[in-house]
Amino acid sequence: MSEIKIQIKNLYKIFGKNPESALEQVKDGVNKDELLEKHNHVLGLKDINLDIKEKSIQVVMGLSGSGKSTLIRHINRLIEPTDGSVVVDGEDVLKMNDENLRNFRRTKTAMVFQRFALLPHKTVLENTMFGLHIQNIDEKDANTRARRWIDRVGLSGYEEKYPQHLSGGMQQRVGLARALTNDGEILLMDEAFSALDPLIRKDMQDILLELQDELHKTVVFITHDLDEALKIGDRIAILKDGIMDQEGIPADILLSPKTQYVKDFVEDVNRARVIKAKHIMSKLNGQDRDNAMFVDQDDFIDRFIDKVISDKPNCLIIKNKNNDEIGYLSTKRLSEILKR
């Protein structure tokens, strides 16, 4: 769980005619607006450092123009950075030649796009096999693998349809099947669910989480939706104007926002549905077990809050999977957190 899969270091991206000279200005502390006004360059990303752990879901969140889509495109080098490095499995992506880069994209990564980016002249099956065709994998093998993933995302029976005949949600399932068929260890999802209706979006989020339980990919997930970020992310990075404001587990971002921007962002979130017992417990030190309530460490607050209200325990004892007591939570602290 703790191995670092993708390491992004001091990454800068400046759009414009002469990014190198603009880079010096940025490093000297010129900000985004000033850079645009005085030097006519756009600051895409500034000094991004991010370690993405293997087999986890890293969410990158920000509003439009925050640079989140630019950031994810640096991981498979669809965009060349102005400065910095991107290391995947110990290998610097930016030092690869064309051939190595293509191989890296073919075998290590797969990407899901906001507007699906399916090939309109190919059927669902052919679209799903696209990555394998690019790798020249033989037809029979490709066919079997593609059908398995089409089935897995719930599109059996649609293999011979064209994307235009499917709804948005179904098209994105094809996009997901195409990415999974590629069988890379890294899944890059660029606002993959943002174009979908809320209900379908929720469906897709559940499918992703369900698949992740089984597949343990390293997922980089871009979104502008905080609820989505909190639901999916093992960790969340918040970008604003190309600068990373905060990075951490969802509970930390909710409970201790570092900047005003993050604070504004998390203000209206229903904490009970995001924070787990283990996030807010304190160390045990001889708490009284009289009238205590026992809670699993991975339970969200809203799973035990009703019982707290009806049973009125003195305190809550947190247990881990092996039923060991690992911490406690006073009702006073609980109500503080919910009131914020």
Binding site: L78, R105, F113, Q135, K161
Partner: protein
């Protein structure tokens, strides 16, 4: 001073004559030197053209007609177009224009194949490189606007009168649409789809053949249709430099004021144009059916 304003200051007559003469003389020398060699380059095309024309003219007409109708049916998948074509060809034959029509079909066929064979690669090149586009665009403008008689002069000087000069004239006139529309079609391919191809590690060749050309195909097909129409429009002019076919009787009719003769042959050209157009258009529609409706 008055003179200067009323008369545009021009080169003296002698100078002008000297320039034109020098230009013509050097071109004549060039054509004397290299004419045969250049002609030899076109020999294979000529052989093919002659073979194709003979094939159409010498095969029994019912067989040729059945072949045409089969191609028309499978191209258009429309009974109405096929039956209409049958009547058109029967009328053409009854009015004594079968041989000329076969000549015209053969030269249009070969010109279209040449235009596709040259035009699509050039269009691809233009789409891939801004520089190629900057160079090709003005050349295409010249090809489309320069009166065809003007470029017929050097072609005839170089290669004489005959099929090949006619073929060149037709191709020069008819090739710009397919080049332009191939270029446009490829440039119009959705950026996000191309990015997806990149993200999955497609190399430039895979991108071209699996993504760009298939997606540009409807536009390319519109170009092919235009190319065929323009080739047909050149038939009369090409007949002035010795290309056989429906153009020659038209030319004869103009010089001798034979109205009926001109009309019949003119209508035969129109009939061919309509058949080519309907077939290539419905074929074009069919290959992009995935864009609407289902394939069943």
């Amino acid at each position: 001073m008055e003179d200067f304003l009323s008369e545009f200051p021009e080169l003296s007559r002698e100078t002008l004559r000297f320039i034109k003469k020098g230009f013509d003389a050097s071109y004549r020398a060039f054509s004397r030197e290299y004419g045969d060699a250049i002609e030899a380059v076109f020999d294979p095309v000529l052989y093919f053209l002659v073979w194709f024309e003979k094939l159409l003219q010498n095969s029994p007409w019912p067989i040729v007609l059945i072949c045409f109708l089969t191609v028309i049916y499978f191209g258009s998948r429309k009974i109405s177009v096929t039956i209409g074509s049958l009547f058109a060809f029967l009328l053409i034959g009854i009015f004594g224009m079968w041989e000329d029509t076969m000549s015209t079909v053969s030269i249009i066929g070969v010109c279209t194949m040449l235009s596709i064979g040259i035009g699509i690669p050039v269009g691809v090149l233009m789409a891939k490189s801004e520089r190629a586009q900057r160079i090709c665009t003005p050349i295409l403008d010249i090809m489309q606007t320069m009166p065809s008689f003007v470029y017929l002069i050097p072609v005839v000087m170089l290669l004489g009168i005959g099929k090949i000069p006619g073929l060149l004239a037709v191709v020069i006139y008819a090739i710009p649409p397919i080049i332009r529309l191939t270029n446009l079609g490829i440039r119009e391919v959705d950026r996000e789809v191309l990015e997806a191809a990149d993200a999955f590690g497609a190399n430039p060749r895979q991108k071209l053949f699996q993504v760009q050309l298939p997606l540009a195909l409807p536009t390319i097909f519109a170009g092919i249709n235009q190319t065929i129409m323009m080739a047909l429009a050149m038939v009369v002019i090409a007949s002035m430099i010795g290309v056989k076919g429906l153009g020659q009787p038209v030319l004869k009719a103009i010089t001798n004021q034979y109205f009926a003769m001109g009309l019949f042959n003119g209508l035969a050209i129109v009939a061919l144009a309509i058949i080519f157009d309907r077939v290539s258009q419905s074929f074009g529609h069919r290959i992009q059916q995935h864009r609407s409706g289902s394939r069943e």
